[in-house]
């Protein structure tokens, strides 16, 4: 049984329908990438999975449970975390406080240990733990955002364009971390502009266009598919 299953979801805002009959699966420990042109509905998929938007038709299942109508904090309780693309850190809080807010639902006694684990992934954050997060560089902010999402040891992490706005060097560092995180346990569902790099690391991938599934396959398979390459990878 898949960890996450999106079954024929149709969703949108107000009068506009953005997703039509979208289905996807993420297995335990898998890394899956969603690619597609701008406006394909990639971020909307993420929001629908995470309960920020509820599907009009179809359903979202997590560990076998229907979570389509749950609120985000209830979904977090069940072991899923989300790293939004923008404003994904508390700029007024310190790095350490940001991490604590990621574990709001955890027992107080555990928090120090959980923080230490995150500092192992991102040693840079330990150096700067007392700094206000708003004063950090783009790459460091991304680390704070990812670190906070990992505080609860989630089974699945959703990441919305983690490399957006970063320098090429930083993109490399961030993806290294993503790979490391994935190896350590949690499954990762990632939306990425930087399709080449992300697909290379992924077990599987989906191509989304105009709110519908277009292609799916293994990461390598999609990279090699001539049509996907021509249409969506700019190759």
């Amino acid at each position: 049984m898949a960890l996450l299953e999106v079954r024929n979801v149709t969703a949108g805002y107000g009068d506009t329908e953005i997703l039509r009959d979208v289905s996807m699966k993420v297995g335990e420990g898998e890394m899956v990438t969603i690619i597609g042109p701008n406006g394909a509905g990639k971020s909307t998929v993420m929001k629908t999975i995470f309960g920020l938007l509820h599907p009009r038709e179809g359903s979202v299942h997590f560990s076998g449970e229907d979570i389509s109508s749950l609120q985000p904090y209830q979904i977090v309780e069940r072991g899923m975390c989300y790293v939004p693309q923008v404003s994904n850190i508390f700029t007024d809080l310190t790095v350490s406080e940001n991490l604590e807010m990621g574990a709001f639902l955890a027992k107080k006694a555990d928090i120090a240990a959980r923080k230490e684990r995150i500092y192992e992934y991102f040693p840079r954050l330990k150096e700067r733990r007392h700094q206000r997060a708003g004063k950090m560089s783009g790459g460091e902010r991304q680390m704070v955002a990812m670190g906070s999402a990992l505080m609860l040891n989630p089974k699945l992490v959703l990441m919305d364009e983690p490399s957006a706005g970063l320098s090429p060097k930083m993109v490399g560092v961030i993806f290294e971390q993503i790979e490391k995180i994935n190896k350590a346990g949690p499954a990762i569902l990632i939306v990425e502009q930087n399709a080449q790099l992300s697909l290379q690391l992924s077990d599987r991938g989906y191509v989304l266009a105009s709110g519908e599934n277009r292609f799916e396959g293994t990461g390598q398979g999609l990279l090699k598919d001539p049509e996907v390459g021509r249409l969506y990878l700019g190759g």
Binding site: F50, V76, F90, G102, F104, L105, K108, S137, G138, S167
Partner: protein
Amino acid sequence: MSMHDAAADAARHARSDDRTSGERIMAALRSRTALAIALALTLVAFWLLGYGQGASLSNLLSLTIWGVMLGGIIALGAIGLTLVYGVLKFPNFAHGELVSFGAYGTFTIMALLPASAALRPFSFGWELLVGMVLAMPLVALAALIVDRILFRPLRLRDASLVLFAMASLAASFFLRSVIYLAWGADFMFYYPGRANPALELPLNIRIQADQLFVFLLAAVLVGVTWILLARTRMGKAMRATANNPDLAQVRGINTERVIAATWALGASLAVAGGVMYGLASQLRPEMGWFLLLPMFAAVIMGGIGSPLGAIVGAIIIGIAQQVSSSFINPAYGPGVAFVLMIIVLILQPQGLFGQSGD
């Protein structure tokens, strides 16, 4: 925002992106510095104007100290106002009425308590402090009931800011009508006719012991609030929610609980502010309404959602109000606060400690 804008050509222009964000911080610093300088110059101008009108130095010094004390009272109200503004994202025009309720509620509770002798050199006895502490949960409860009836349905409906503001104005007039009905329109005093002589201090400074107490209590409560916000998990969640409510939800923070805690804390501080204000002057139904403008000025000056900013703003406004009374009619105190607020809005609407958007 900056990350989003830069997303398109980030790879190629990585360096220039760093520079622009650096420049942005510089620009923010510059205008924030400009605001701080402008406010400092205003205060200096007020002192000079007072001096020019013949106020003696010791007189001006006394006024400044009274200003810090008034600032403490304003700060007690303004911290709650800024937290509610930050967490719930609307200007709560009913916050002044929480201040009034605190003052009147304490008055009524005191009447039920056995009267004790004055704690010399202060003019008040234990019952004032006990009454204040007992009034805090009651006013907090009143705030929660108003939130439940009025603001929560709007929140669930995702109503516009204007409707929230309108609803809070309705709450303000409703609560004030309750005060008029329950306690009447006449001025009241905690200790009518009790003498409260000024202390003899060096440099000819004249301060009453009560005024000193007001300032000390304000300082202690501000300190306690600071610890609550900086050290406890709920306090941090409050700051987080004020900073970025959407992300707070995403991180699994139960925002309704945070909102309830915010009302409780804001209302409790408002009670203390109301009692101190009532002790320093008198109780009247409009007392909270008169404090509303200085409180808003302090909140905007400090930056919406920033408790530290509200404290700093409140003290600046308190001093400005008191010192200005050496050269203009003291009745214009709230007007002085208003002028300072307009200066802030022109120079740097985000205030001294506000977020520069993200």
